[in-house]
């Protein structure tokens, strides 16, 4: 019995080592760093316990970046997922022409963040004015999309939604095609309406996939960096600085590893709690 246990643990060693090197150590180290102040070289200077955290929650810079992040997530995730779901529902029917739409809708998967950001930069660019051109054509006055603090976040969100939609569409379409077509046939014999079908069959059956897509979109939105950096170059004042942005600046520009770690730890903490809360709920029937 004892030797059997020993063998069992032996099998666990490789994965345990991998986790230690790439996960446990980093997490513990982050927690450790968050309790120190660093000097200009980035070495640890003084132990300050929770001061980094109290500093964070009173710092207006952090609070604006928190607000920007939350707003960015709220703008991009629900709209992006709903749009992707609509496209997937549209492309899921058996029409042969749909092969074309499937390729079209999922084409943004292959685009790099930088390339798509550049495209959107041209779209918003005040001198090229693709979007403003249309706005003026339908009778609105032109907007300085990326310079105006009130529209910059929205403008970046629109671009981000466009970048993420291909991936969401792809996964949701896969989920839709996994639903047994006889469920629809049975419903069509019963004669229920399309909305009822969507509410009572498609959404519940798609829930695991939807959950996955929403989670990944959340992660993507929280991690969004490239498009914000490129499109706004920090944007109008600080309205566009998100978490990742401020981590980047604190670490590599201000060499302030301690408070950066505090932010990171805070983020991981929130995400972990959220995950436990959702995963514990039974999503799978």
């Amino acid at each position: 019995m004892y030797s059997l246990m020993k063998a069992g643990f032996l099998y666990l060693v490789p994965s345990f080592m991998l986790f230690t090197v790439f996960l446990f150590y980093k997490t513990v180290r982050t927690a450790y760093l968050s309790k120190y102040i660093t000097d200009m070289q980035g070495t640890l200077a003084t132990f300050v316990d929770i001061e980094n955290f109290t500093y964070l929650f009173t710092s207006p810079a952090f609070l604006t970046s928190a607000k920007a992040t939350v707003l960015f997530v709220l703008y991009t995730v629900p709209i992006g997922v709903i749009l992707a779901l609509c496209l997937a529902l549209f492309a899921n029917s058996k029409l042969r022409e749909n092969r074309f739409f499937r390729k079209l809708f999922s084409s943004t998967i292959g685009m790099s963040v930088v390339a798509s950001s550049v495209i959107w930069m041209f779209m918003y660019n005040p001198t090229i004015e693709v979007i403003n051109y249309f706005l003026i054509a339908i009778g609105y006055s032109e907007i300085q999309w990326l310079l105006d603090p009130s529209t910059a976040l929205i403008a970046v969100s629109i671009g981000s939604i466009w970048m993420n939609i291909g991936f969401c569409f792809f996964i949701l379409l896969g989920g839709l095609q996994n639903i047994d077509s006889q469920l629809y046939e049975s419903a069509s014999i019963a004669g229920v309406s399309g909305a009822y079908k969507l509410r009572k069959i498609i959404i519940p059956m798609l829930l695991p996939t939807l959950f996955f897509v929403i989670t990944v979109s959340f992660i993507n939105a929280f991690q969004a960096f490239g498009q914000i950096e490129i499109l706004t170059k920090d944007g109008p004042i600080e309205s566009m600085t998100t978490f990742v942005d401020s981590i980047y600046k604190d670490t590599f520009i201000n060499y302030n590893i301690g408070s950066e770690s505090a932010i990171l730890f805070f983020c991981i903490f929130i995400v972990t709690i959220a995950q436990f809360k959702f995963v514990a709920r039974k999503l799978y029937y």
Partner: protein, 392 residues
């Protein structure tokens, strides 16, 4: 209750090859009609066409006297049970049963009432609050049946509903389905690839092979008078034994076996070769005074009330004899068998069609006439009712 008529119905997916070629059948109201055939013969396609899940390429489909080619599935007033139950996994048994009933403008109370009635019939009352994955396969199948019954649709379609169940349960639910159908008087169209199932439940059955109707009729009639070798070997727990024989003067010759022809000589006519068919139960051990034919026993299956004996006939064909009682024969020993003339069937070697005597032709013709007469009378009655309604 409604009649379902298919007239020259054709189906093709690529517009070149027909999956179904000219299906012609009338399914009477309240009838238990079984479509049977090997997999890929088009039986499920016919069912899906009737349900409206597939389009008709050519021909006409009439339901309850009305042309239904382009009606939506929900407008055809029918219910359907699928092969793999198709229950909604996230809904309880009760919600599954009542799914879509609101379309029929039933109040919540009525829905519940109907659900309880149906659950009572199928013995599901204790499971109404459970999810499909929490009940056994047999019960899941019952839920699928309940869903079909609860709509009170006059026509019920079933697509191999029992193929996922084990043998014992299959027999049980089979007889339950038959009982419910008779009780409610609905028109049942039932697809299966199991000939035993087809024989035991059907009022009439239709045998299909590669998209073509082979034979339509009452189970026993088909069993006794198969129209061709396909039907002969498909229907019956053990297929009909078949072997090709040479016609030599007034006798048929199969290797060493010689069958003297008496009154069947007219039947065979000028043919040089002919296919002989015998049901396994019509082969018996020869009595002392009978001119038996000696065969070598290749295998013996004693099944309590009967014994199945396999032996070689001719060079390659294996025949099966089904002898009543228990026979303790040894493999390799010889057995003298005897077949009465009246039990021999003959098939044309080129067309595979059964060679039919004039007497039988006449009987079939009378049968056809009486069928036409019934159809005619139904039509007249229908017209009379319509006229009556107009007068009132």
């Amino acid at each position: 209750m409604k009649r379902v008529e298919l007239k020259e119905v054709r189906k093709s997916y690529d517009r070149r090859t027909d999956v179904l070629s000219g299906i012609d059948v009338t399914i009477e109201p309240g009838e238990f009609f079984v479509l049977v055939g090997p997999s890929g013969c088009g039986k499920s396609t016919i069912l899906r066409i009737i349900a409206g899940l597939e389009n008709v390429t050519g021909g006409e489909l009439r339901i309850g006297g009305k042309r239904a080619n382009h009606l939506l599935p929900s407008q055809r007033d029918l219910s359907m049970v699928f092969q793999n139950y198709v229950l909604y996994p996230h809904l309880t048994v009760q919600e599954n049963i009542t799914f879509g009933l609101h379309v029929k403008r039933l109040s919540k109370a009525e829905q519940k009432q109907r659900c309880l009635e149906t659950a009572e019939i199928l013995g599901l009352t204790d499971y109404l609050k459970r999810k499909p994955k929490e009940i056994s396969r047999g019960h899941r199948q019952r839920v699928a049946l309940a869903r079909a019954i609860v709509t009170h649709a006059p026509i019920c379609l079933m697509d191999e509903p029992l193929s996922n169940l084990e043998a014992k349960l299959r027999t049980k639910i089979r007889s339950e389905i038959r009982g419910i159908q008779q009780k409610l008087g609905m028109t049942m169209i039932y697809v299966t690839n199991d000939q035993t199932e087809a024989m035991t439940v059907a009022d009439r059955l239709m045998i299909l092979n590669s998209g073509e109707v082979q034979q339509i009729g009452k189970p026993l009639h088909i069993y006794n008078y198969p129209v061709n070798t396909f039907v002969a070997s498909f229907i019956g727990a053990r297929p009909m034994n078949l072997i090709e024989a040479e016609v030599n003067g007034s006798s048929l010759i199969v290797d060493e076996w010689t069958v003297p022809m008496s009154d069947m000589i007219d039947l065979i006519g000028k043919r040089k070769r002919v296919m002989i068919g015998v049901r396994p139960e019509n082969i018996r051990a020869a009595r002392q005074d009978e001119p038996g034919f000696d065969v070598t026993v290749a295998n013996v299956e004693v099944q309590g009330t009967e014994t199945l004996i396999t032996f070689h006939m001719g060079s390659s064909d294996q025949w099966i004899a089904r002898l009543a009682g228990q026979w303790n024969l040894e493999v390799g020993k010889s057995l003298s068998i005897y077949i009465e003339d009246q039990h021999l069937c003959f098939f044309d070697t080129s067309s595979s069609q059964r060679i039919i005597s004039h007497a039988e032709k006449l009987a079939n013709f009378r049968g056809d006439l009486s069928g036409e007469y019934t159809a005619y009378r139904n039509k007249v009655e229908g017209l009379e009712q319509a006229v009556g309604r107009v007068n009132v």
